[in-house]
């Protein structure tokens, strides 16, 4: 069981999940705990010979009942590959899984916020290469979605709606769009190739989305991630986070479904580090203008599709 402390100086929680120090770290492929269990082989987390999508409670949870939850979402039983290389049908199925987990975890009394996320690549701390993501059910509202609610106040309405309107009006940073979803690098992106994947219609959470919107979301996410891999012709590391409405009764409509990608690469071989200004001052020093990055990434997406 972890311990949650409140850092008064920062005004934020810190979760001490010290048992995670013992979690499986970069095992060889034949000892992957997310692979199916082979006949005669060691039992993995999924004791089936084959599966499509699997979700299980994390053996090394950052949060656990009665103060939240931590789940692992395994995208496929194939060890190699990534979200980008999933069959489109599997990517679409994943949207339904995320939708179902948001609804179920969000209904819990000990969960105030459901965060669907994925860490890809050792550059962002991945400990298992098998294609997978995670879901945390926080027993409080974390600072980043809380800041988005403050942006709603500042802009006098839904901030993602207003920012999407501005990006479509400007157009220079738009990377991809389809009937229901727009992908763009934000005007004030922190990371060189940061991208936001935003539903055109205001939907507070995935359960409010139509089946067509879920399909469009999967298509847009795969377009972006395939473009990322094409950008430098290498597996492109990123942190992906889906923001939806908090799941407390008063805030269930206070959100707009969007997915944010924070890639640490600032060139094919160079990483952006969070250093003095970012950590000590809270101000990002960016290495590339979003408009230039958008030109490069737009071309990469076109090559990948």
């Amino acid at each position: 069981m972890g311990e949650l402390r409140f850092n008064e100086l920062r005004g934020e929680h810190v979760d001490y999940a010290i048992h995670r120090q013992e979690r499986t770290f970069l095992p060889p492929a034949d000892h992957c705990p997310l692979c199916p269990t082979r006949p005669g082989g060691a039992e993995t987390e999924i004791p089936f010979e084959a599966f499509e999508i699997a979700v299980f409670e994390n053996r090394f949870p950052a949060f656990e009942a009665p103060r939240g939850v931590a789940e692992v979402v395994v995208y496929t039983d194939r060890h190699d590959g990534s979200f980008a290389t999933l069959a489109p049908k599997r990517a679409r199925a994943l949207m339904w899984v995320w939708r179902e987990r948001y609804a179920e975890l969000g209904a819990r009394e000990d969960v105030d916020y459901v965060l669907v996320f994925e860490n890809r690549g050792v550059e962002v701390g991945v400990t298992l290469h098998h294609p997978h993501g995670q879901i945390y059910g926080y027993p409080f509202l974390p600072p980043v979605p809380a800041a988005e609610l403050e942006a709603d106040e500042r802009l006098g309405g839904c901030a993602p709606c207003e920012l999407l309107r501005r990006e479509l009006h400007d157009g220079r940073r738009v990377l991809y769009d389809n009937e229901d979803v727009v992908v763009y690098i934000p005007y004030a992106a922190r990371w060189s190739y940061e991208a936001h994947v935003v539903l055109r219609t205001h939907r507070a959470s995935l359960p409010e989305c139509t089946p067509a919107e879920l399909e469009s979301l999967a298509t847009a996410l795969q377009a972006l991630t395939r473009g990322y891999d094409a950008l430098f012709t290498r597996p492109f590391p990123y942190v992906m986070a889906m923001h939806q409405a908090p799941t407390t009764a008063a805030l269930r409509q206070a959100g707009h479904v969007h997915v944010e990608f924070y890639p640490p690469l600032r060139s094919a071989e160079k990483l952006k580090y969070l250093a003095g200004s970012e950590q000590g001052g809270g101000t990002f020093i960016a290495d590339a203008l979003p408009e230039q990055s958008a030109r490069e990434l737009r071309e990469a997406i076109a090559r990948a599709l």
Binding site: F25, L26, P27, P28, A29, T37, E43, E45, I46, P47, F48, E49, A50, F51, E52, I53, A54, V55, F56, E57, R59, E71, T76, D77, R78, D80, G81, S82, A84, T85, L86, A87, K89, R90, A93, W96, V97, R99, E100, G121, V122, H129, P211, L214, D229, A230, T233, R234, P235
Partner: protein, 68 residues
């Protein structure tokens, strides 16, 4: 880093759709127990819930035959 744990140096080819019939029974000695609401639907998916021997939840999602 453990040898053999590096990511592939190039992007692998797109994954082919999996065969729903490959979904199999759990291994006999796994200690899995079907959860109470054992089979349900989630959009185009069938949901199967289990409890692991240590009490943790395991959920499998698979395509329906008509969707496949």
């Amino acid at each position: 880093m453990i040898e053999g744990s590096r990511e592939p140096s190039s992007t692998p080819p797109p994954e082919q759709p999996s065969d729903p019939s490959a979904h199999t029974q759990p291994r006999q000695d796994a200690g899995l127990e079907p959860a109470i609401d054992a089979v349900e639907r989630c959009g185009p998916l069938v949901v199967e819930r289990y409890r692991k021997a240590d009490g943790r939840l395991l959920i499998l999602y698979r395509s329906t035959v008509e969707d496949g």
